[in-house]
């Protein structure tokens, strides 16, 4: 029997705030254990949590950018469960009246566009972190109370590749909005996947497994692929799928049942009495909407229209906001958009990748890239020379003009100087000259090569060609 995978994702995103969701403790990553906690986030009795206004705005921005409806009324609830990383024994979250409802993310897999619907986006606080030592467990509450939004998708995804694309699109939107760092290594973007199978054509959903511990987009793809195969095998043997939480083991590439979560949870949600409801007017929501920055999709279209870039080039350049920003800064110094795009996507990205650097750490500034292109466009250096100059610029951080001047590299475009060399080459190579005159036109390229060699590659190849032909046809 053929099965169809049905996948839904729950993505937790850390909002980019300086302080926690309900208290003034810092959200900075990397502090010593329990160095960023206070009576509020430690859950001391008698404390009063107060909502961080920036976290609220960022959540609304994310919702609007994803086409969600921002609720005119929403509230917080307590989700009750016992775990050492939860000092209050409840997590402040949103249950039946979340901040955002609905929405969608557009993805493209193998040339086909597809809309993935969102169920909701809600605000909640993060839990702490457990460190498993030999014999006992250490708990660090620095993460406790860090502001998160949880973005829940409908089960609209049908393959691990679609899940991967969904996450990529989601991350691009969040980065453009600057609502999150989206750094998976530091835990500011985390993903759980709900995976089930059903016979092709069947409308009813199969029993699902929830997979946790997915710490990279590639691991999400791999874990879902593994889980689909595991469930297929069970079903083909006539066995049933158990609804459970499974942990992904990235080192050994398999999922295993998480026994501690086997018992069905009863979270006994109830309204958080310490936090008052959030009420918006339509006007307030509208004012956030008009302040949203330009997003990747629209920027891509603008790049294609205004700078005549191909769809592919525009896609690559806008997939990361800082890459697109870099590109636009280059345009301040050179109008040759196509050349900027080529240098960025080719040589620059390659060198950055080799050094494991992001565009933000590029040793070459937009002004420098543009300067190199200008020298080429003015015919001062050849394309081949530019490649060498580029590498030196990348290595030293110097401008193209500095390097070209210092090395006397600039291209020979003075026809009288080139003419002298051309005449000399013709004198020294009678056989080739004879060949050319007898109709073997490819003898010309040998002669061009000789001129280039004599000028250490500095002669303008186009002029060399013209002058040689002129001299030979005399």
């Amino acid at each position: 029997m053929d099965y169809e995978p049905v996948i839904g994702l729950e993505v937790h995103v850390q909002l980019k705030t300086a302080s926690k969701l309900f208290c003034g403790c810092s959200t900075k990553f990397g502090a010593l254990p329990n160095a960023q906690v206070c009576p509020v986030c430690l859950g001391y009795p008698g404390v009063l949590p107060v909502l961080n206004e920036k976290a609220l705005t960022l959540a609304v921005m994310a919702g609007l950018a994803m086409g969600s409806t921002v609720a005119l009324y929403s509230k917080f609830d307590r989700k009750n469960y016992f775990y050492p990383d939860l000092p209050k024994a409840y997590q402040v979250s949103q249950y039946d009246e979340p901040i955002c409802l609905g929405g969608k993310i557009d993805i493209e897999v193998e040339g086909t566009r597809k809309e993935i619907r969102l169920t909701r986006i809600h605000l909640e606080e993060d839990a702490g972190k457990s460190m498993h030592f030999k014999g006992d467990t250490g708990v660090d509450y620095n993460r406790t109370g860090i502001p998160l939004i949880e973005i829940v998708s409908e089960p609209d995804l049908r393959s691990p590749q679609e899940a991967y694309q969904y996450l990529k699109e989601l991350k691009t939107i969040l980065e453009y909005l600057d609502v999150s760092d989206c750094n998976m290594e530091e835990g500011s973007l985390r993903c759980d996947a709900n995976v089930s199978l059903r016979p092709v054509g069947e409308k009813k959903m199969g029993t699902r497994a929830e997979i946790k511990n997915l710490n990279s987009f590639h691991n999400v793809e791999k874990a879902i692929t593994y889980e689909i195969e595991r469930q297929k095998e069970l079903l083909s043997r006539g066995e049933r799928i158990v609804q459970e939480t499974r942990l992904w083991n990235a080192d050994e590439s398999f999922t295993r049942s998480m026994r501690s979560k086997e018992a069905a949870h009863d979270y006994r949600y109830f309204p958080e009495p310490d936090l008052v409801p959030i009420v918006f007017s339509a006007k307030e929501i509208e004012s956030v909407r008009v302040s949203l920055p330009e997003l990747a999709q629209r920027r891509k279209e603008r790049f294609m229209k205004d700078f005549a870039l191909t769809a592919y080039d525009a896609e690559v350049l806008t997939a990361q906001k800082d890459l697109a920003d870099f590109f636009e800064r280059c345009l301040k110094y050179s109008k040759n958009a196509k050349a900027i795009s080529n240098w960025m996507m080719g040589d620059l990205m390659r060198e950055l990748k080799l050094k494991d650097l992001g565009i933000a750490q590029s040793p070459m500034s937009p002004e420098h890239i543009a300067g190199l292109i200008e020298l080429m466009d003015q015919g001062k250096i050849s394309g081949k020379m530019a490649k060498d100059v580029f590498l030196e610029m990348f290595g030293t951080g110097k401008s193209a003009q500095e390097i070209v001047s210092a090395k006397g590299l600039s291209q020979l475009s003075d026809s009288s100087q080139i003419e002298g060399v051309v005449k000399k080459v013709i004198q020294e190579n009678p056989p080739s000259v004879q060949d050319y005159r007898n109709g073997k036109k490819n003898a010309l390229s040998y002669l061009v090569g000789q001129v280039m060699k004599a000028t250490q590659g500095r002669a303008n190849p186009k002029m060399v060609n013209e002058l040689l032909v002129k001299e030979l046809e005399k």
Binding site: N34, A35, V37, P39, D136, T137, S260
Partner: protein
């Protein structure tokens, strides 16, 4: 009318181990409480909106500013066990 309840479920969720005697005692007390609250069902609430908050206060927020946190020693000394700035708890098996 007396409302019956499953005291074992509640005890399990609250991580409480009850003796047979306690089961009996709390079962009866919880039933009494529920029966008492049950009286509210007599009120017709068809046209009343559910209230999740009783005060007429909304939108209380604070600016996103970092305030000093506590010195870890000040609270770890009250913890049953602390080590290297961690709270230490019995081993958690996932």
């Amino acid at each position: 009318m007396k409302v019956e309840m499953n005291i074992d479920d509640v005890a399990k969720l609250a991580r409480l181990k009850l003796s047979a005697e306690e089961r009996e005692k709390f079962s009866s007390q919880m039933s009494d409480i529920l029966s008492y609250v049950q009286k509210l069902n007599a009120v017709d609430t068809t046209h009343v909106q559910a209230a999740d908050h009783v005060e007429a206060v909304q939108n209380v927020t604070r600016p996103d500013e970092v305030k000093p946190s506590l010195d870890p020693d000040s609270f770890l000394k009250h913890a049953p066990l602390g080590r290297d700035q961690f709270f230490i708890v019995p081993q958690v098996i996932e």
